[in-house]
């Protein structure tokens, strides 16, 4: 039961940190404010231009909420990085399972993959919101989006595979083999989608102000705490389930 308490604390801490980062993104990060700001070029189509009387006379464009869609960065990127990390953890447990054949490694790999799938879906949702706001499209076959889409399909395939096998040992081995292949495949997908000839412009703004780094790091820590919290909660559930199974068998026997 200690595990469950740890999980609850971690989820609370993660929620607190990400919420804090969310507010910091609006109030302390550099590119912010809800007022009108003049920029030297059109940057963001999420919200309209400022009314004509507020437009600057010479050059530049005034926006009502400049860089507003950029705020999703503090949620989207930490989630994406966390999802990648959890996928790698799942692959590591898969390798451990293949080598040592301990059932708990299989359970850990499965639970890590579940957590990774949650994070990948969150990444996809926030990503689609941002592409709509900033690129004015719902979907774009851009390298990162495509890679995440494929990763999501592979994770879903992992669970489809698990569900269609009944023997525990075989299910563990097959799932582990597929998890390792998926983890190898993800970076190759990213590389190849980046270099294939494409008609679409890759639109990524870079550059990072110091005051933006703090909310980003806080959000990242929050996401990691959240991820570990979800993982621990699911693990304690799995352990309880196993105990119930053992108890049932003892009662029957």
């Amino acid at each position: 039961m200690k595990q469950l308490k740890v999980a609850i604390v971690l989820v609370l801490v993660g929620g607190l940190l990400t919420t804090a980062a969310f507010f910091m993104a609006f109030f302390t990060a550099e590119v912010q404010t809800f007022g009108t700001v003049t920029l030297d070029k059109a940057v963001d189509t999420a919200f309209g231009l400022a009314p004509p009387e507020l437009q600057p006379p010479g050059g530049g464009v005034s926006y009502q909420r400049p860089w507003f869609s950029q705020k999703i960065f503090y949620f989207h990127v930490p989630v994406a990085e966390a999802s990648f990390l959890v996928l790698i953890i799942s692959a590591v447990f898969s390798v451990l399972f293949l080598v040592k054949r301990r059932p708990q490694d299989d359970t850990k790999a499965k639970v890590a993959m579940e957590t990774a799938l949650i994070f990948v879906i969150l990444t996809m949702i926030t990503g689609v919101l941002w592409t709509r706001a900033s690129w004015n499209v719902w979907w774009e076959w851009e390298p990162r989006l495509t890679t995440y889409f494929i990763m999501m399909l592979m994770m879903i395939a992992y669970f489809v595979l698990r569900n269609s096998i009944e023997e525990d040992e075989r299910r563990g081995v097959y799932a582990a083999v597929f998890a390792i292949l998926a983890a190898i495949n993800a970076p190759i997908s990213f590389l190849i989608t980046r270099v294939i000839p494409s008609n679409h412009p890759v639109v990524f703004q870079s550059g990072f102000a110091g005051s933006n780094l703090l909310p980003f790091i806080i959000a990242q820590l929050g996401m990691l705490a959240l991820g570990y919290g979800i993982y621990t909660a699911r693990m304690s559930e799995e352990l309880l389930r196993e105990r119930v199974e053992v108890a049932k068998e003892e009662l029957e026997g």
Binding site: A157, I165, F178, L181, I184, I192, I196
Partner: protein
């Protein structure tokens, strides 16, 4: 007393391939089903393109269409090839016999590659005559050996990774459905590279050779990494 002499790896490999070929010559099941299926896909393409109009250049999307035939056909073929092994107890017999596990992988993978290549030899010219032969710019396009190279590198990856995945999927409840679900996302980078390479040759726009070689390098890299991974993991799959 001297220990009984074991077959060398090469002879074991040849024996597995011979078994597949002999079985195919007797039943003719794999090639007829794969070939017929490919023809049906071509008919479906005709239906899909029938309203496109005379100005539509099929050549622009021909590489993608061509690879699509082979994805569907290889899914069918891979599933069949391993279902045979399992249903007739051949896989168990192979496991009992003193054959090294990696040899089983290479034997099955090369057998699958062989059948896929035979289907391609028939389907590629047919595809050309049906969809590209009558087009106004039928004679443009790069050298044929470039397309052959792209087809080979693509089929190599399909057969190698596909053999591993099919060995897993025949032992599940879903069989062919599971194979498709596992196979297509894993094949995604390879297919993207070979379609881009084939398309570059078919369209033969200026500077296509550079694009082609870059794509072939990517496909070869994918093949190397994934075949090594598949080779390393096959033993675990067979053992389970």
């Amino acid at each position: 007393m001297a220990p009984p002499k074991r077959m060398s790896g090469w002879r074991q490999f040849k024996a597995i391939i011979r078994k597949d070929i002999v079985m195919e010559l007797r039943t003719k099941e794999m090639l007829t089903s794969m070939g017929l299926y490919a023809l049906l896909v071509l008919v479906v393409y005709y239906i899909a393109l029938s309203q496109a109009g005379a100005n539509f250049q099929v050549r622009q999307i021909a590489a993608g269409l061509l690879w699509l035939v082979f994805i569907f056909t290889s899914l069918l073929g891979l599933n069949r090839s391993l279902v045979h092994e399992k249903d007739q107890g051949c896989l168990d017999a192979l496991l009992i016999s003193p054959i090294d596990r990696p040899v089983i992988f290479f034997g099955k993978a090369v057998g699958n590659l062989l059948f896929l290549l035979i289907v391609e030899v028939f389907i590629v010219p047919l595809f050309y005559f049906i969809f590209l032969g009558s087009q106004s710019n039928a004679d443009v396009g790069g050298p044929v050996w470039m397309i052959v190279l792209a087809l080979f590198l693509g089929s190599l990856g399909i057969a190698g990774v596909g053999t591993l995945l099919a060995t897993m999927s025949v032992n599940t409840k879903g069989k062919d459905f599971i194979l498709a679900v596992l196979f297509i996302p894993l094949m995604f980078p390879l297919l993207l590279a070979v379609v881009a390479g084939t398309s570059a040759v078919l369209l033969a726009e200026p500077g296509y050779a550079a694009v082609f070689w870059q794509m072939m390098a990517l496909a070869a890299g994918y093949d190397t990494v994934m075949l090594l991974a598949a080779y390393g993991l096959y033993e675990f799959v067979l053992g389970a």
